[in-house]
Every structure is written in C-alpha cells, then in structure tokens.
C-alpha cells in the first residue's frame, strides 16, 4: 500500500473512531440510565457552547484566562530565562539557586493556592502568581541545560575566529541553546495552562474558564461545563500546535538544529 493510501486510511479510521465515540456518548446520554443533568446530549452541549459564545460570556471568560496565563507566562520567561542562562554561565549563581530550585520544584503549584489566597486575596494577583510559579521552573531548567549543552567545539571555533565575549554569547550560545529554550517555553506554557485552570477553580474570582467549570458544577450545568472544557482544550491545542509549532519552524528547524518531530 502506498504511503498516501495508508495516510488516508488512518485519517478515515480516526474519523470513524471519533464518530463512534460520539455515538456511544449520545446513546448513553439518551438511554435514560443517567440523569440528563449529569450527561447532556451532544446537541445540548453544542447549543450551550454557541449561546455562550454568541452572548460574549464565553469569550470574556476565555479572555480573562488568557490574560492571566499570558501575564504569568511572560513573567516566568522574563525571570526564568535570564536566571537559567546565568546559572549555566556562572557557577556562583548556580550554587546559590540550584538547591533552592530542587527544593521548590516538587511542590505542586496547587498546594500554594490556599496560601497565596491568604496572602494576596482572591483574584488576578493570586492566579498570575500561581501561573508564574508553575511556569518558571521548566523555563529556567531548560535554559540552564540548553546553555550547558552548547557544543564546546562551536565555542572554541568561534573563539579561534576571534569572536569576543559579547558576540560569542549572542551568535553562538543563544542560538545553540535555542532548541532547549523553545522546549522550555513550550513546557512552561503547558504548565501555566494547567495551573491557571486550577487556580481559577480554587481562588475563584468572577471570570475565567476554570471558574466557569467550577461554578457550573454548583448549578449542575453540565452542558456549560462540557462547553468550557471544549474551549479549554481548543485553546491549549492551538497554542501547542500553532504558536509553538510555528516558533519552532521559524527558528530551530530552519537553522537545521532539530529534525521535524514524527507523527
């Protein structure tokens, strides 16, 4: 079988699976074994999604969540990236921060939510700080290992060709470390995205996708819950595929430092 035919068959099978899963779900929802409030039919979910988008509420929730996640993520990159690079370049910095990082990293960000709520109140500040906490470590760690893994041959070659410290840093070390840095951003965003939903659930403010889900539970609005789940999944997917995917294509893939991921 040709590669193309195989590919088409895979697509077809994938579509069939999804349809079958949807059909099973629909059958379960309509069978009446489960309360319709807990297991709404797919048209109900679709209707909830469309109405909430049409009246703008879902968009506003998503905007709040995105604002928090971007703010926290930007902070994490602004702190984690330079710190990671400094740690790799200066052993003094590394000796100071590495023990702290290893002690803080295993604490899940959610464990800090109640504490941050007491300190910073309910709302944006707490959520942004939780996102920042969750996203900083992967960023820092990847920048650190990226700079350390720059091929020493490149450094020596550039040094032999007369590059000064400044040029060496910007022209060799940073591009050399960039596959790791981009992976770090990707992981950091993923962490941030998970953290924001959790933080919004617990440190409930009035807006945000995590808050909608949690709030909908109180009123048994399962259709709204599923609709927001879809929105959350889609935003995460879009960022993962398009934003970071194209960032990778524009930089490290074009420079030939990484092969295209398979699959």
């Amino acid at each position: 079988m040709t590669e193309r035919g195989q590919h088409q068959r895979s697509l077809l099978r994938g579509a069939v699976t999804l349809l079958a899963a949807a059909a099973v779900y629909e059958a379960m929802a309509r069978s009446g074994y489960f309360a319709p409030a807990l297991l709404p039919t797919l048209p109900t979910v679709a209707r909830a999604l469309i109405t909430s988008i049409a009246d703008g509420s879902m968009i506003e929730h998503a905007a709040f969540t995105l604002y928090r996640v971007m703010f926290g993520f930007a902070l994490a990159v602004a702190v984690g990236l330079p710190l990671g690079i400094l740690m790799a370049r200066f052993s003094r910095v590394e000796h100071f921060f590495l023990p702290l990082v290893s002690a803080l990293m295993p604490i899940p960000s959610f464990a800090l939510v109640p504490l941050f709520m007491l300190w910073f109140g309910i709302g944006n500040l707490t959520t942004i700080l939780i996102v920042f906490y969750a996203a900083t470590f992967p960023m820092m760690f990847n920048a650190w290992s990226g700079v350390r893994s720059v091929n020493p041959l490149w450094l020596r070659a550039a040094g032999a060709m007369g590059a000064d410290e400044h040029r060496l840093f910007w022209k060799v070390i940073i591009p050399g470390a960039s596959p790791f840095i981009i992976t770090g951003m990707r992981q950091a965003f993923l962490r941030a995205w998970i953290a924001v939903v959790g933080a919004e659930m617990i440190a409930a403010s009035d807006w945000g996708l995590g808050w909608v889900i949690f709030d909908a539970k109180e009123f048994l609005n399962t259709d709204i819950m599923l609709a927001s789940l879809i929105v959350i999944g889609m935003i995460g997917f879009v960022f993962e595929r398009f934003v970071f995917g194209s960032l990778e294509r524009m930089t490290v893939l074009r420079w030939g430092m990484m092969r295209t991921a398979k699959g």
Partner: protein
C-alpha cells in the same frame, strides 16, 4: 617509614575529602539560610499580619506537634494510598494502550484521535465533571488521578515502541525469535527508557493533580485537604507544614523511587548514562 607516609597521605586525603564534603553541604545550605533569614525578617517586620505569615519557629513547632500527634502522618498516608492506587491504574492502562498503539496500526488509528483530544485539556478541568459523575470522595479522586496521569504514559510507551531500532528487530528475527520472544526480549526492553520516562512524568502529573483534587473532592483526610482546611481557620503554620511534607514526598518519589528503578534497568543495560 614508608607505611607512616602512606597513612599520613591517606589521612590528609580523608581529611581534605571530609572538608570538601563539609564545604559542599555548606554551599547547599547557604541559599536556604539566606531565604530563611529573609523570611524571618518579613515575619518580624510585619508586612503581612502575623497569623498569615508565621515565623519559621512557629512553622517548625506546628510541624513537630502535628507529626507527634499523628495527624500529619495520617494525612500523608491517605494521600500516598490514593496516589499509588490512581497511578497503578494509570500505569497498567497507559502502558497497555501505548504498547498496543505502537505495535498495531489499527489500535493507533483508533486511540490516537481520542488521546490527542483528551491530552491538551488540563487534568483539573475534568475534576468537576468527575465529581458530578462519581460523587465526592475517594472514587473521584483516584479515578481522576488515574485518568490524567495515563496520558503521558500512553504517549511515551507509544513513542518508545516505535523508536525500537529496526535493525534490532530484524537481527532478532534472523536469529529465529518468534513473536512472543521478540516482544518480551527486544521490544519491551528497547522501549523501556521511554516507558520509564512516561511513568515518571505520569507520577509527577498524578502528584500535582492529587493535591488539587483533594482540595475539591472533600475527602476526609489528605495533604491537599489539610492545606485547604487549614486556610479556613487561618492556620498558616499548619498549611506551611503540609507544604513542606508535600515537597519532601515529591522529592523522594523523584529521587529515591525512579532513579533507583532507572539505575537497576536501563542504566545497567547501558541504554542511557546516569
């Protein structure tokens, strides 16, 4: 004479070795001392109300008190049992599905769309749904932990099986290995570094989700609940003691459990360097 010199040299080297070690410990402790001092200053100056920002002595006292009365160990054990149950579930399911996906094109086509849709949704977003479906308490918490931590395990087992070198398969076949042998002696060990990475990621994920879900699922015991419950009574010292225990367990899972397993298997087989 010769002997005396050798012993002398050995002594010096032991002493300098000891000093080296002491220096290493001091170097690792120094950042904590600095942070601890900053913490104490903030607590004493009173940027935050004292109840919300206790001094380190208060946290330590509360830690000791909660440990001696058995409250903290009880919470920790309940949490660990939940973690292990959920993670075992995820491990069995995840490795099975992942290996199946790697071996059979049909399984891959069936599971991949479902997995790629489910994976990008943050695990905690499922929590309210699970709570509605399975009720408050243990069942929801364990199922959610299992469900969420299965994703990285599936992905890594799948990649691992696919990454087994073609040449190993062919040489094993040329030497007359049948399907079963091929699977248990070539594919499984070959995929093991990936599978272990998947389990490791899954465990980390499970740990993160569990703490959060304990806050939401109203379980009677558990570290997440301890932290969340202590907030209501402004017992910040108990909260911080709980966070310390969470950090210790998280660190122990990573360092003791997984590094040991890796050392015994893939590192010993020379598949990755330690």
């Amino acid at each position: 004479m010769q002997d005396a010199i050798t012993t002398g040299v050995a002594e010096v080297s032991i002493r300098s070795h000891g000093r080296e070690r002491l220096r290493l410990v001091a170097r690792n402790l120094f950042p904590f001392v600095v942070i601890g001092a900053i913490w104490e200053i903030i607590a004493w100056v009173g940027v935050f109300p004292r109840r919300l920002f206790p001094t380190l002595e208060e946290v330590a006292a509360s830690f000791v008190h909660l440990t001696i009365t058995g409250i903290l160990p009880h919470h920790a054990i309940e949490t660990l049992i939940r973690l292990l149950t959920g993670f075992t579930l995820a491990g069995i399911l995840g490795v099975t599905i992942g290996v199946l996906m790697g071996r059979s094109r049909r399984a891959e086509d069936i599971f991949l769309p479902l997995v790629s849709i489910g994976a990008p949704i943050p695990g905690l977003a499922y929590a309210p749904l699970f709570l509605l479906w399975f009720g408050l308490g243990n069942v929801s918490a364990v199922l959610l932990v299992g469900f969420v931590s299965a994703f990285p395990i599936i992905f890594n087992s799948w990649t691992g099986v696919k990454a087994v070198k073609e040449i190993w398969l062919r040489s094993a076949q040329a030497m007359g290995a049948d399907d079963r042998h091929l699977f248990s002696h070539v594919i499984l060990p070959g995929a093991l570094p990936y599978i272990l990475t998947g389990l490791r990621l899954g465990l980390a994920q499970a740990w993160r989700i569990l703490v959060a879900v304990e806050m939401l699922a109203a379980v009677p015991w558990g570290l997440g609940w301890l932290i969340f419950g202590a907030r209501k009574f402004l017992n910040t010292d108990a909260m911080l003691a709980g966070i310390v225990v969470i950090a210790i367990i998280g660190l122990a899972l990573e360092k003791l459990v997984f590094q040991k397993i890796e050392n015994y298997t893939v590192v010993r087989w020379g598949m990755i360097s330690s």
